[in-house]
Amino acid sequence: MKSVLAYSHTIGFLSNEGRGFNNPIDMCIGPDGLLYVLNRAGPEVGIRLPYKRVSVCTSDGEYIREFGTGGIRPGEFWWPSSIDYTASGEIVIADEALDRLSFFTPDGQLTHHFGVSGRDAGQLNRPSYVKFASDGTLYVSDSMNHRVQLFTTEGEYLASWGGIGNLNFPWGLDLLGSDLFVCDWRDDSIKVLDGAGDITATFDSEHTGLYRPSHILATNSGYSIVSDWGNNRVVVLAGSDPVQLLYGQAEDSKWAEDYLQANPQEAEARLSANLLPDLTGRQTARGEPSANVESYFWGPTAIESNDLGDIFIVDSCRHRLQVYREISSSNV
């Protein structure tokens, strides 16, 4: 194994409003360098609906603002699943309960939306991921229809790729040149599709060890970074070969430090606690270590990078982003 990525810092804190996140599921980076973090929150009961929102902060963890709320009316979120920035400066958010793509200004004003539930061409069934391409195409993981669909930002249907037998509940997407990398979630694989939508490569779990991958970041240095959701880890791939496995090593963020400073008794007890316990028995079963060890990834759902070389891993069940940096810049 190599050391490709190194831990840098953590951004986050559990918060139902204001500074913090509540089950962040995806993020995007605006042209202003700000991070737009989409909070899934839940369950869908009245008092908790406002927790579903977009939190905006800097890459250093300075809180800026938030917008959005839960609901089913235009501009509201029910099961928000993915967020991206379009070339025209709009933010697009996919909602997999409402089968809807909604577009907002950077300060949260709804501009338009589209989406019809169904299985016909152009219809959606649980859109789990949205990726905006530089040519203006929107790629949408149409999960329960087992396909990726292409639209314009106005909602005009362009094409449908994959389908039953080719994809199996696809989730995260990334583009590198004309290649579309698809996290084929239920197939535990990464599929690469060419510009015509044909599958040209498959990185299967036998090679990669992936289990229910949620997202992939394809980098120019030749590595792919995959949030291996089912294994609660992040895998750095060179081709289909895993070269680094990351399990998370989050430290206290600035927001966490502020909380502990305001709660000295809890902070004092935390200092003398062993937060990296040895685990035995049931605690070592799949999924359990993440619940027991606070610094580990727990349900990593997305990965993004900025122009400064920061790699943000959305650590959903821990309400934070773990930030890494690439320490090896040589190409594979």
Partner: protein, 352 residues
């Protein structure tokens, strides 16, 4: 814990329970130390989880507690602070781990259930699990859950003998129960009041209303809550009071409303199947045929004749159903769903 150990040996279940950090915290065993025993867990272990009240002495409770001193949780101070304030910060809930702290354990001589020694918790569990009182207590619980709210002493005694013979192997005890005559007896059919969860799940399965995860399941879970059973949150460590205690004026109204609401939607696949089954009897359906076909479609074969009479009387108010003409179908389908609502409102539907 129950998924992994529930069909195993009772001793294994009680050992996992005694080491479960949630239980240790809830019943204060992290505060149970040499020289300062806390009897909370020791008492409840005997009273609620194994032997039942009246089967042990006060001295047994004290020595049981002493035996479990040192059975604690890791990072006890930090986890206690978090629990006191219900702190979920900075990064959400944090699971906790069992830790045995030998310096907190009282290794002195104790007498428990007539035996004397330097007992630790595991020794106590050995003695509990070989006690006839435990066999009786556990088997009565199983009988009440699977057979009837009304206990038949001879059947429970029979089951308790099996329990002791197989050293508390729950799978073997259940095998005995499920193969027994009393389990299959006609006198025990519909002899226990369904819990809210059982009632709601039965109705949802009948209607086939939740075939894939969707957000409306939250609303269904809230129905269960309104009926008096908040899922995974019993009111006390004793659990819920079951049987006829599920029924009181408020909860009964909730039970009826939730069931009739679920069954009234003819777009649910299960309801459509029932309607299609009724229609298979022909283009014109008499009220009596309507009632019997609905009961058959719902697999209700034991409805008392008096209740059937009442249902037929209700169905007769508007005469025969007709599916002969397209304009009569919606009305007839609605009458089918209305009858289904009547059926789920019967006393018998509340019983398992």
């Amino acid at each position: 814990m129950f998924r992994q150990f529930g069909l195993g040996n009772l001793r294994a279940i009680l050992l996992e329970l005694s080491k479960d950090p949630a239980m240790i915290f809830w019943l204060d065993n992290k505060d149970n130390k040499i020289g300062a025993p806390n009897e909370n867990y020791g008492r409840e272990l005997l009273e609620l989880f194994s032997m039942g009240i009246g089967q042990y002495t006060e001295e047994d409770v004290q020595n049981c507690a002493r035996s479990f001193t040192g059975w604690s949780i890791r990072n006890a101070e930090y986890m206690s602070r978090r629990a006191e304030r219900d702190s979920i910060w900075p990064y959400g809930r944090l699971d906790w781990q069992f830790e045995y702290i030998p310096q907190n354990h009282d290794d002195g001589v104790k007498t428990f259930l007539g035996q004397t020694g330097r007992f630790n918790g595991e020794d106590i569990l050995d003695m509990i699990c070989s006690s006839p009182a435990t066999a009786r207590f556990i088997c009565e619980k199983l009988y009440r859950y699977f057979v009837s709210d009304a206990i038949d002493e001879r059947s429970v005694d029979e089951l308790a003998r099996v329990f002791l013979k197989c050293h508390g192997d729950i799978r073997q005890v259940l095998r005995e129960l499920f193969n027994s005559d009393y389990f299959k007896s006609i006198h025990n059919i519909r002899s226990k009041v369904m819990s809210p969860i059982e009632l709601v799940v039965q109705t949802c399965r009948l209607a086939e209303s939740h075939q894939f995860p969707d957000w409306t399941i939250v609303l269904t879970a809230m129905d269960v809550n309104f009926m008096g059973q908040e899922i995974l949150n019993p009111p006390t460590v004793e659990g819920w009071h079951t049987g006829s205690e599920w029924i009181e004026t408020g909860s009964l109204v909730e039970r009826l409303n939730a069931s009739t609401k679920e069954i009234s939607n003819s777009s649910h696949p299960g309801i459509r199947s029932i309607i299609d089954f009724v229609r298979s009897y022909g283009p014109t359906i008499e009220p009596e045929t309507l009632v019997h076909s609905c009961l058959e479609a719902m697999a209700v074969y034991d409805m008392p004749s008096k209740t059937i009479e009442t249902l037929v009387e209700y169905a007769s108010k508007w005469g025969n159903l007709s599916f002969a003409r397209p304009d009569s179908i919606p009305c007839s389908e609605q009458r089918v769903t209305e009858l289904l609502q009547m059926i789920v409102s019967t006393r018998e539907y509340q019983m398992a």
